[in-house]
Symmetry: C2
Subunit: 100 residues, 2 copies
């Protein structure tokens, strides 16, 4: 299993339009072959010192293996997503995890 | 859906024993009722500027809803995990996400 989790911070975190545009982009992105499961999330209401809830959107995708995730990175749908949406965010943090 | 993703940085990142101890703790933790899906991960080999691969273990859990995650936080199995394993890590970052 390959877990690819991306957190996006919007340039304009107050803009509902920008949030909707990024969400729509992620929905299109979810069509990439090889994605076994995905979740588009926003910060939950939980508050503890260790919780980072400052991001705008969370993009969780699960792949069968590392190769499928490599293929996803260069898929035309992914390249188009970056082209169309990269101007919306100011910061992106990615965590890629494989089975221990 | 409630996505709870925790990243652990070990105090002794070179210690295989500490890693195994934390992994064993997470395996016991996975028995908490309400966890629909979980994944114990280590950093993948992917390298890009936006990727944080400095953590030791990733702990992804998915719950049906926020209440199940709240219950998990106070479950005796979770409290025991924190008691037994908290001395192993130097840093924890948590991201909690709900449906947009």
């Amino acid at each position: 299993m390959f877990v690819h989790h991306v957190y996006f911070w919007l340039k304009n975190p107050e803009s509902k339009e920008d949030l909707q545009q990024l969400k729509a982009g992620l929905e299109k992105l979810s069509k990439v072959a090889g994605i076994r499961m995905f979740h588009i999330g926003r910060p939950a209401a939980t508050k503890r010192e260790v919780i980072d809830s400052g991001y705008s959107l969370s993009w969780l995708t699960i792949f069968e293996n590392a190769k499928d995730q490599d293929d996803y990175q260069v898929d035309p749908i992914h390249l188009k997503f970056v082209e169309e949406c990269a101007s919306l965010w100011s910061r992106v943090v990615v965590y890629d995890s494989i089975d221990v």
